[in-house]
């Protein structure tokens, strides 16, 4: 087993990995940029190294700097978390060359699954069902038009190097195609410095269901059942749960088998996720494979009891998986809400800034994977995630009730957060009934929210009025002593006849 692991990441996911290291008796090495000296991931690590200016492209994304710290610290392995270098095959190759173990799959697996087109080809050959579309990246605008017509609208434009909802555009009609293509390319260029795109048929009313898999070097594979991530906004997951209400035991077994087939096709090692779209008739299509730890991995951990990060570390150290397929059970139900520093009442604009006060929820069945603390300033340079709140219950009803309860306990001041949004989702009838698809938030939820009558307007106005009242009184009181105690008393002093006469 490793004695020391470097975590090439920041924020909540770095803290998550450091926690696993602590529990396994492995020393953890943090890296941090100039704005992250106070960050939680530095405080939770055993060692920490400064790697440069705030901008990720000058710190967390610089392979040379990460490798240098690994050597200086004597770390035998690197955990990349998610984002940054996590799915970068050049980084994986560099680690191989430097004889530093990367906790993740091989560069070959990353490269194959990272190129969406190559991934499609590979999994299709392994018998995995895929969404109709192009296999090669499309270079010219004319070709985009030709292929789109061929597949039929609506189509989805996707950045070949994409992820996290960036460089992704839904195009409903040919008239929107030119401008959408421009936006997708420009976003892809700035996010991944690669503006190539491909095109796929858009499945109407799709649900997003993914399978967590684990593989080791000895050819063992298990799947840890599904997560449903259909609650998305702007194609970015915001609420995830396991199990999915639409997945039957037969479907689970079939999807699990297909996911393992896809993993086996690239001799996958470590933790990975096969994402599927499920149409209303419950046909499922392979979407992509994420060759890293997912943001939403805690929901799977809550229902299966498997610590995915620890399995990753064991497998990377050459040990076999500690679980067999027949040991995997889904117990109860877990839901995760991603808490971001964004303003849900202003179209989710990012709200970086100082967390002036914080009260985190607790109690039965609640897990908060946080990267912040009271007094922490959320930097503008990175993803504005605050924490991932996870609730477990014996069934979905209890999990929702617990999540709602935990969310109302959660207080963050100084920055706007998505907590209010999540409370509204948990209260929404369609969500509670399990009746939604990936368009739910953008198409149904906001419309319904706009029509909902709010109950406590009086309390809101009363409290604000009291606050104004007290502020005005404070201002008035602060002004008075200045008038009384200032120059007036000086004048009195110097004009006292007795004193003047002394001179």
């Amino acid at each position: 087993m490793f004695r020391k692991i470097l975590i090439a990441n920041r924020g909540e996911i770095a803290v998550r990995v450091e926690r696993a290291c602590r529990e396994m008796g492995i020393r953890s090495v943090a890296v941090y940029s100039e704005v992250d000296r106070h960050a939680l991931h530095v405080r939770c690590a055993d060692e920490a190294y400064l790697i440069g200016p705030p901008s990720a492209s000058e710190s967390y994304l610089v392979i040379d700097k990460i490798i240098d710290v690994a050597k200086r610290s004597g770390a035998e392995a690197i955990h990349p978390g998610y984002g940054f270098l996590a799915e970068n095959p050049r980084f994986a190759e560099r680690c191989e060359r430097e004889k530093i173990r990367l906790i993740g799959p091989s560069a070959h697996a990353m490269r194959t699954m990272g190129s969406k087109t190559l991934a499609r080809k590979t999994v299709q050959a392994a018998g995995v069902p895929v969404v109709p579309g192009t296999v090669e990246p499309i270079s010219t605008e004319e070709e985009v038009f030709r292929v789109a017509r061929e597949i039929g609208f609506p189509v989805m434009l996707k950045a070949t190097a994409g992820g996290g909802g960036k460089g992704l555009r839904l195009v409903r009609a040919e008239s929107e195609l030119a401008s959408s293509l421009r936006m997708a390319k420009s976003e892809a260029k700035s996010a991944f410095s690669d503006d190539s795109v491909y095109i796929e048929r858009y499945i109407e009313q799709p649900r997003h269901v993914e399978i967590q898999i684990l593989g080791d070097r000895h050819g063992n594979y298990v799947h840890l059942c599904e997560r449903e991530c259909s609650i998305q906004r702007r194609h970015q997951k915001v609420v995830e749960e396991s199990p999915s209400v639409i997945v039957t035991p037969e479907m689970r077994a079939a999807m699990g088998k297909v996911a393992i087939d896809a993993a086996r096709a690239v001799r996958y090692e470590g933790a990975g996720t096969c994402e599927f779209l499920v149409d209303p008739a419950r046909n499922f299509y392979f979407l992509e494979m994420n060759t890293r730890l997912q943001v939403e991995h805690p929901v799977t951990e809550m229902v299966t009891g498997v610590d995915i990060v620890k399995e990753q570390i064991r497998v990377a150290a050459g040990e076999p998986l500690s679980i067999r397929q027949e040991d995997v059970r889904q117990t109860g139900h877990a839901i995760e809400c991603r808490v971001y520093a964004e303003d849900p009442d202003r179209n989710f604009f990012p709200c970086p800034g100082l967390i002036t006060s914080l009260r985190t929820p607790g109690g039965a069945g609640v897990r908060d994977d946080s990267g912040v603390f009271e007094g922490f300033e959320i930097p503008i340079y990175y993803d504005p995630i605050i924490s991932k709140l996870v609730a477990w219950g014996k069934d979905r009803t209890e999990a929702i009730a617990r999540m709602k309860r935990a969310l109302t306990e959660y207080v963050v001041t100084g920055v706007k957060t998505t907590i209010p949004f999540h409370i509204r989702v948990m209260n929404n009838r369609h969500f509670v009934e399990g009746n939604f698809d990936t368009n739910f938030i953008d198409k149904v939820f906001f419309k319904e929210e706009g029509e909902r009558r709010l109950e406590h307007g009086d309390v809101a106005v009363i409290t604000a009025a009291i606050q104004v009242f007290l502020e005005e009184r404070k201002r008035a009181m602060a002004q008075k002593p200045v008038e009384g105690a200032g120059p007036v008393s000086m004048w009195k002093y110097s004009s006292r006849p007795g004193i003047r006469n002394l001179g």
Binding site: R346, T356, R359, I380, T413, R424, V461, I466, F469
Partner: protein
Amino acid sequence: MNYIGTIDGKEVRVAVRETGVARYAVTIDGTEHLVDAHQVQSSVWSVLYGETSFEVDVQGKDEEYEVLIAGDCYKFTLMNEQRKALMRSGGKGAAGKAMVSSPMPGKVVKLLVREGEEVKADQGVIVVEAMKMENELKCAVTGKVKEIFVKEGEVVESGAKLLLVE
């Protein structure tokens, strides 16, 4: 103290009177409400209305309020009565004018309009990137771009004036 509030475009009269330690009588359009209110944590209040307990987060700036209760956001304005009277006599106001300002710190990626250009309400006028996301900012009114205060590539603070439409 007396205040004028605007809720959903409707004007209401609000009066606050302190009746004891952390006890207040707040009258809204003639109806009196008795509450026990404590500011417990930064902008968060614990309010007992009768025996009902509320946690209320009050965010206010320039008389505009956004109050969160149990995940619901209440937006309204609240202004001192005397100030309101002053403002009313103070001139023409800003009808038909709209300042587009940056809601967050970020970088100006693209200007979608030029000075002098005619724009429609709800038209995207500028793209600002923050936290790896490109956000298209829209203009609130129909009019002409009077002035642009920033250049492409410029880094802007939260609340920075970007352009003026008249």
